[in-house]
């Protein structure tokens, strides 16, 4: 088992670096010039300014040399300096990541916590009102565009009913807690700041629901389908023939088998939530990686784009590894 983990980790590292190479090449072939994006029309019309600026950021070097410099930095744990913010990329990412991790994790817990029980209920009481409700919930979740859902939620619960706080991670007048993890829920608790905790939690409600919506739908449908498939298996009939209670049969015989495909989906969904919060973060003014990504891409901020690529690919690879490991826990046939 340990050996599998080590081999897979080494493979993941190689994959992550390869991913940066692909992004590097793509970013350099798309038509678009960071000079224009950064300096503006007037400064860009002066060749001397442009040349000086290019030399400053190393953009006058051949492509392979630029990539080599990136790799050399990477080996020393340095992702370079962001052109837009003029700060080390790693610092930027460290600043924006906790907000996204917090949002995505809460959304993930919501998606599993609602999706799995709803899927189980829909399968057990197939074609009943529960099933119909589950179908409606997942249909809405999967088919509503995120920005639309975000505005509707804000309009109803913040603008209309005024029971939810507005955008942002905290009240505009509140002070953020002392930074330990960067996750406000945890930092406020560590500081013993109950009001702050309450404030941070309240601000998480709407964005996490919006972000989780599509995933809730997917997990509900997948759980329901997997449950129905497992319920049709012979060992379920055998359990009934042994005189086991129906509840026991569902929870102990059906569910463990049905969870296997759900875990695969769940892993991918979590990685997606982490990497795909751009829309939600924008509408809710959430200072996370999604907005940083958007800004960096718009500014053709190469070092930042490369850094984000690396972070996202490492996240995907790690989550995938975790999924594979949990597979071995759930399914003895995969174990060695």
């Amino acid at each position: 088992m340990l050996r599998t983990v080590v081999t897979r980790l080494a493979g993941a590292a190689v994959m992550a670096v390869l991913a940066t190479l692909v992004v590097f090449l793509i970013a350099n072939t798309v038509p678009g010039d960071p000079v224009l994006a950064q300096l503006g029309d007037i400064a860009a019309s002066n060749p001397a300014t442009v040349a000086e600026w290019r030399a400053k950021w190393g953009l006058d070097l051949p492509l392979w040399e630029q990539y080599l410099i990136f790799l050399r930095g990477l080996a020393q744990g340095d992702l370079g300096t962001s052109i837009a913010s003029q700060r080390p990329v790693l610092e930027d990412i460290a600043q924006y990541a906790p907000a996204t991790v917090e949002l995505a994790s809460i959304a993930f817990v919501l998606a599993l916590g609602i999706g799995i029980p709803l899927g189980i209920a829909a399968a057990v009481w197939r074609d009943s009102w529960v099933d119909a409700m589950a179908r409606v919930v997942s249909l809405i979740g999967v088919s509503s565009p995120t920005f639309w859902l975000a505005f509707i939620m804000l309009a109803i619960f913040y603008g209309g009913l005024q029971i939810a706080p507005g955008p942002g991670r905290l009240d505009p007048i509140a002070f953020p807690p002392d930074e330990v993890t960067g996750l406000f829920l945890i930092d406020t608790l560590l500081a013993g700041d109950w009001d702050g905790f309450h404030d941070a939690a309240a601000h998480l409600v709407l964005p996490s629901i919006v972000l989780a919506a599509a995933t809730i739908g997917l997990i509900t449908r997948t759980t329901r389908a997997a449950m129905l498939e497992a319920m049709g298996q012979d060992y379920v009939r055998v359990s009934r023939a042994k005189g086991m209670r129906e509840r026991y049969t569902i929870l102990r015989h059906v569910l463990p088998n049905a969870l296997i495909p759900v875990v695969t989906l769940g892993g991918l969904a979590y990685a997606n939530l982490l990497a795909g919060a751009v829309m939600t973060e924008t509408v809710f003014s959430w200072p996370g990686l999604g907005r940083y990504t958007f800004r960096s891409a718009a500014a053709l901020d190469f070092p930042a784009i490369m850094g984000i690529t690396l972070v996202v690919s490492v996240t995907y690879l790690l989550v995938n590894l975790l999924v594979d490991l949990s597979y071995a826990m759930l399914d003895p046939r995969v174990r060695r």
Binding site: T7, Y235, S239, R240, A241, K242, G243
Partner: protein, 673 residues
């Protein structure tokens, strides 16, 4: 029968379908005394499994019991509340299902699956249940039960899993065990072990057993009495031996005679009794006898009046006007059904000749530095198939039968050895060089459901090889040829535009045979072509194969695990074990007096009532690490130290080859006819 465990009276179960109620079980009555054994036999769709599920009250929508009564130990099962039923199930009455590969939960350890009924019914506390589980597994013949209980199902073979299922059935010492086709998915040797076990358990624990099977031989080797079901009704009930010897219902007669018997002499006529047609449409049952449309003995009254189940002899019930009137059904076998077999051709010119054939399948590495493990599927096979001959290949699963079929047809490339087809070496021939040979050598597969493309009409399926090999042009010419092919295999040529799902299993296998015949091959390799079919359909397909051979001079390589069928159909037989030839001989001689002990135990394992059996212990060793020396020595009843060297395949008598240091020394009372 003083104290019946189970009394079933006029049980009626229907499936409520959109087209109307389907009467799956239609007025079935029988009883089982304490400690008694009863068999239910019938073809697929006869209602036997639905009967079993009705008894357990485990029917699922849209099936429903609509009439009759089931009394278990005097209590009315149909009046019980769900929780009362639940406390009976797995406790007083237990059930074992057909497929041991899917009946155990793959993610739960054997121990918990065994102990949950014991603990769940409150009969044993957990530690006690564990001890009992270990004890039961040992009793079921599982080696090292203390270690085995903590394993997962995938670590067991099919036979072992069925033992676990049996142990589960006996967990709480039930009064009645219902076993639905418990051995159908298993090899004949493993089947023999399990049937023996069932018989012993019945004797030892006094558990009444209701055994459901499509195979009268299986029922005969466990059950004293048998109920024959047809179209949801009991058509005959009697002592099993009586039904086997002298069936009193024409359907039972057809069942008995559709199956070649390994313990009866072969006649000159090798056609089997097969009744044409199919069971009646359950939505539209005939008003008279339900078997009348297919019955060779019917009289005018049969189509008019539905016969009752009435006594035809002491202790014998039959639902037939003809036998109730005292008429006796004829003895089959050479009963003038025609098609006398030509004498086997002299084996002078082999059409196919195989020497030293080897096939190893390397498995993917388990990790970067682990050695590659290799499946030794075929380990040096020599055989010849003469032109016009039928060569049978037999052996347990994993002995390399199917790999051999795929090698000689060059679906796989051999690892070593030579394959000569009609004078041409094809072992290493390129795909382009093989292509013209495909015309001359065709294959028929086991599963008629999986081997036809569901999205192609059968007309397209049959025309495809004709067009591909340039034998017919697309369009009218191909259509005409396809029509002729369908007619040749006994199907209506008007059905060309139908899709595979519109056909029954037997009809599909006819289509598969038609596809193989399309290119007018000289040789057909048939890999278990009848294993997935009901006995009556098996007889039809075997008769078709015999007819086609006579008409077209075909050569067959016939792979099967059913020894009685092989004995019946084949001129010569090759017995394989772990990818090696153990014995090769003319069929009649081989079955009359096997020279290799493995052949002996294989033949002995065929369920035949009233015959002493040598039960072969254990299962074939892993093909990943085949043993040194004689591969069979680990299970051989007469193994000696000298068997650690591999005996060569040598001619022991004229035309009889055997790979054994002690040819002909293993024998026992039950062998030979």
């Amino acid at each position: 029968m003083t104290n019946p465990v189970l009394e079933v009276d006029d049980l009626r179960t229907v499936f409520l379908t959109d087209a109307g109620p389907v009467h799956a079980v239609d007025g079935v009555s029988f009883r089982i005394g304490a400690g008694e054994t009863l068999g239910i036999v019938g073809e697929s769709g006869s209602g036997k499994s639905v009967t079993a599920l009705s008894l357990m009250r485990l029917l699922e929508e849209p099936a429903r019991i609509v009439g009759g009564s089931i009394r278990f130990q005097g209590r009315d099962l149909l009046a019980m509340r769900p929780d009362e039923l639940r406390s009976l199930r797995g406790d007083r009455m237990a059930m074992v299902f057909q497929d041991p590969m899917t009946g155990l939960n793959p993610v739960i350890r054997i121990l918990r699956q065994l102990t949950e009924p014991m603990v769940g019914h409150g009969r044993f506390a957990a530690p006690e249940a564990r001890r009992r589980a270990v004890g039961l597994l040992g009793r079921m013949g599982i080696t090292a039960p203390e270690r085995s209980v903590s394993r997962f199902p995938h670590e067991f073979s099919g036979g072992m899993r069925q033992r676990v299922m049996l142990a589960m059935g006996f967990a709480n010492d039930p009064a009645l065990l219902i076993a639905d086709e418990p051995t159908t998915a298993l090899d004949v040797t493993i089947q023999a072990q399990l049937l023996d076990l069932l018989r012993q358990l019945n004797a030892e624990f006094g558990t009444a057993i209701l055994l459901i099977s499509h195979d009268l031989g299986v029922i005969g080797s466990v059950c004293q009495r048998v109920v024959v079901m047809y179209a949801g009704e009991v058509v005959e009930e009697a002592a099993t031996e009586a039904v086997l010897a002298d069936p009193r219902h024409p359907y039972a007669w057809a069942l008995v005679n559709a199956v070649p018997r390994i313990d009866q002499p072969l006649g000159a006529d090798r056609r089997l009794v097969s009744i044409e047609g199919a069971p009646p449409d359950a939505l539209n049952l005939p008003q008279g006898c339900r078997f009348a449309p297919r019955c060779p003995f019917k009289v005018e009254r049969c189509e008019r009046e539905h016969p009752p189940l009435a006594e035809v002899a002491p202790g014998r019930l039959a639902r037939c006007w003809v036998t109730q009137a005292g008429q006796v059904l004829p003895k089959a076998g050479g009963s003038g059904l025609g098609g006398v077999r030509a004498s086997p051709p002299p084996a002078i010119e082999p059409l196919l000749s195989v020497r030293g054939l080897v096939k190893h399948f390397p498995l993917p590495r388990e990790s970067l530095f682990a050695p590659r493990r290799v499946v030794h599927a075929v380990n040096g096979i020599d055989l010849d198939v003469g032109r016009g001959e039928t060569l049978g290949i037999v052996g347990e699963s994993g002995c390399g039968k199917s790999t051999l079929a795929r090698l000689v047809t060059r679906i796989h490339a051999p690892s070593a050895g030579s394959i000569v087809f009609d004078g041409q070496e094809i072992a290493e021939a390129s795909p382009a060089a093989i292509r013209p040979l495909r015309r001359r050598m065709q294959m028929v597969f086991q599963d008629p459901y999986a081997s036809l493309n569901p999205r192609m009409t059968i007309g397209d399926t049959l025309a495809e090889p004709l067009v591909a090999h340039g034998l017919a042009r697309r369009g009218a010419e191909a259509r005409e040829r396809v029509g002729g092919l369908l007619e040749m295999v006994g199907l209506n040529p008007a059905w060309v535009s139908r899709f595979p799902h519109e056909f029954s299993g037997g009809q599909r296998q006819r289509i598969s045979i038609a596809r193989a015949l399309a290119l007018e091959p000289e040789m057909i390799v048939a890999d278990e072509p009848i294993s997935a079919l009901d006995v009556n359909i098996q007889a039809q397909i075997l008769n078709l194969m015999l007819d086609l051979q006579q008409r077209m001079g075909l050569t067959y390589l016939f792979i099967a695990h059913d020894l009685a069928v092989v004995r019946h159909l084949c001129d010569r037989v090759v017995v394989l074990y772990l990818g090696r030839v153990m014995e090769s001989a003319p069929a009649e001689a081989l079955f009359a007096r096997p020279l290799h002990p493995y052949t002996g135990v294989l033949i002995s394992a065929v369920p035949t009532p009233g015959r002493v059996r040598v039960v072969l212990e254990g299962e074939p060793p892993s093909t990943l690490a085949p043993p040194q020396g004689c591969p069979f020595r680990g299970r051989c009843p007469i193994a000696q130290p000298v068997c650690e060297t591999m005996p060569p395949l040598a001619e022991a008598e004229a035309g009889r080859w055997v790979a054994c240091h002690f040819p002909g020394e293993f024998s026992h009372a039950g062998l030979g006819a």
